[in-house]
């Protein structure tokens, strides 16, 4: 008999993914910048995990280390029981990096075929073209594609190896709403093949809708790690914004339902655990508050509320912040 051992559907996927005590700093103008500060993440094979956080949270640095593109300063990584670069050289990892375009002077089909040729057990090229919805543009040169088409081809590049681990770093950034929905539909179909998927996003809705679990990162640390329903409850806070001259923000931060307060001149912004309770309390104490708006908090504010840390803005220039 000729031929080696047939690659099974879960070739080398045992053991899941482990990140232990991972740290990475970069040199900055004022000394080293700690991009990732000792994080631990454990992901089981077949899980879909969102790395959720605002820009600068350390998501991309973590992903670069997970892919073996960046060596950690400290800590250990294991991808299905191997080092990231071993997992990569076995063809077990596919990724769509945050920044990136396609090389020119190949058709979409040729590009996918070229990438497929680098792997030991790739998917059929035509199947990938169809699955990612680029079969209609398969004959077009890569330099003539729209932004959304380019993203879909990049996704095709990421999955052509039939990877056990698929890593997506803010995959939908350049897409419109329609493109985004279509993208996640395809991603889900791929996940349904039993793949492990890690994706970075700063859209809470994406994490909520498409991940089993979200790992919340802020400024290099993990703030929360759990099922998306829990995360949603944690960051699903609302913000009350009002014009209130001369307000005492420490007192405002102490109001019922309020978890944090900041002031920008005459405007106060209250992060609320319960905005219904908070607005009643605010108006009872400050009937003169005007121009009141209640909005769902952005992730950045939610993180601020979660971490109780006002040092996001440069010291001395940022808003005055109080929290409890």
């Amino acid at each position: 008999m000729s031929g080696g051992v047939a690659a099974g559907p879960h070739r080398g996927a045992e053991g899941g993914i482990e990140l232990r005590g991972l740290s990475k700093s970069f040199p900055g103008p004022d000394g080293p910048i700690e991009a990732v500060r000792g994080i631990d993440i454990e992901i089981s094979a077949g899980e879909t995990v969102a790395l959720l956080g605002p820009n600068g949270a350390g998501k991309s640095t973590t992903i670069d280390m997970l892919l073996g593109l960046l060596a950690p300063d400290a800590g250990e990584l294991s991808v299905f029981g191997r080092s990231p670069s071993q997992a990569v050289s076995r063809g077990a990892v596919g990724a769509m990096l945050q920044t990136g375009a396609l090389i020119r002077d190949l058709s979409v089909r040729e590009l996918i075929a070229m990438m497929a040729s680098l792997y030991p057990a790739p998917l059929d090229v035509e199947e990938v073209l169809e699955l990612t919805g680029v079969d209609e543009i398969a004959g077009q040169p890569t330099q003539k594609l729209s932004g959304g088409q380019t993203q879909r081809v990049r996704f095709a590049v990421a999955i052509v190896s039939n990877p056990e681990l698929l890593v997506l770093d803010e995959p939908t950034v350049a897409m419109d709403v329609e493109g985004r929905r279509a993208f996640w539909t395809i991603m889900r179909a791929f996940a349904a093949r039993g793949k492990t998927i890690v994706f970075a996003t700063h859209y809470l809705e994406e994490a909520d809708a498409y991940a089993d679990r979200a790992v919340l990162m802020a400024r290099g640390s993990i703030v929360a790690d759990g099922p998306t329903t829990e995360i949603r409850a944690m960051v699903g806070t609302r913000t009350i914004r009002a014009t209130l001259p001369g307000a005492d923000i420490d007192a405002l931060a102490g109001l019922a339902g309020v978890s944090g307060a900041e002031r920008h001149g005459e405007i106060v912004i209250l992060s609320c655990a319960d905005s219904d309770v908070a607005i009643r309390a605010l108006l009872a104490d400050h009937p003169d508050a005007r121009d009141i708006e209640i909005t769902a908090a952005g992730l950045e504010q939610a993180f601020l509320a979660l971490t109780g840390d006002g040092a996001v803005a440069p010291a001395g220039h940022g808003p005055e912040v109080a929290s409890r």
Binding site: G68, G91, G100, D105, L106, E110, A113, M114, S161
Partner: protein
């Protein structure tokens, strides 16, 4: 895994990039006709024993092939700028396969440039025997090895906007000091400096086939040293080049 497929598509991409292709091949030709065309009656140029059309044909062959090898670096820099290098690094593509594709692409362009110049030479009355041509081509191709490494090295060190001036200046300087534009005097500081440059021996290589002095041991030593140093540096630059550009 089919490592040859990657090489095949790299070659195809190079041939399809019409602007790159035409400019790479066209410039040495234009220069050749400008320089040699006006001196096509000179039968012994500056005591080299070679006619002007022949001297400049081999001189520009060295210039054209050197530029072709190094512009492979510009293509690498462009790939890096769009993040493609990082995309390749998360595949099982081995450095060996990668380098082979890049070196073969560069050699393909160099060989085409050489053929174009030889055809141009015949229009100005240059005639080489098949034996001379094969010998010259063979020696030029050997002399291009350090330039292949240099192209890959600068491709992984520089960005597309800085590689333009680096290539323009570097190729001109190497060609000037190598004796492409005029014969290097047999003594003096220019001669002494040229002895240590791969471009000088590249120009000399083409002369060897045409009845010039054969490559001395020093030539082999200089070429081997440049190849060794540049290959190590290129491999190192490639290995370290995994960050965002």
């Amino acid at each position: 895994m089919k490592p040859l497929t990657y090489t095949r598509y790299e070659l195809l991409r190079t041939l399809r990039n019409r602007r790159f292709f035409v400019l790479s091949l066209g410039f040495p030709l234009i220069l050749y006709y400008l320089i040699a065309g006006s001196a096509h009656n000179v039968s012994d140029l500056a005591g080299t024993g070679l006619s002007a059309p022949l001297y400049y044909m081999v001189g520009l062959a060295s210039f054209g092939t050197m530029a072709a090898m190094l512009s492979c670096g510009a293509r690498i820099a462009a790939e890096r700028a769009v993040g493609w290098n990082r995309q390749l690094r998360i595949t099982p593509l081995s450095p060996r396969t990668y380098f082979r594709a890049k070196v073969l692409t560069a050699y393909m362009m160099a060989l085409l440039s050489l053929i174009a110049l030889c055809l141009a030479g015949t229009t100005l009355g240059v005639s080489l025997t098949a034996d001379e041509w094969l010998k010259m081509t063979g020696l030029i191709l050997v002399s291009l090895v350090p330039f292949a490494a240099l192209g890959i090295l600068i491709g992984h060190l520089l960005t597309p906007d800085s590689i333009g001036p680096a290539l323009g200046g570097g190729v001109s300087l190497l060609a000037f000091l190598g004796g492409t534009w005029f014969p290097i005097p047999s003594h003096g500081i220019l001669h002494d400096v040229a002895q240590f440059l791969p471009s000088y021996w590249l120009v000399q290589a083409s002369h060897v086939a045409l009845g010039g002095h054969p490559w001395p041991a020093r030539a082999w030593a200089v070429m081997a040293a440049w190849t060794a140093v540049l290959s190590v540096l290129a491999a190192r630059a490639y290995r370290r080049d995994t960050g965002r550009v």
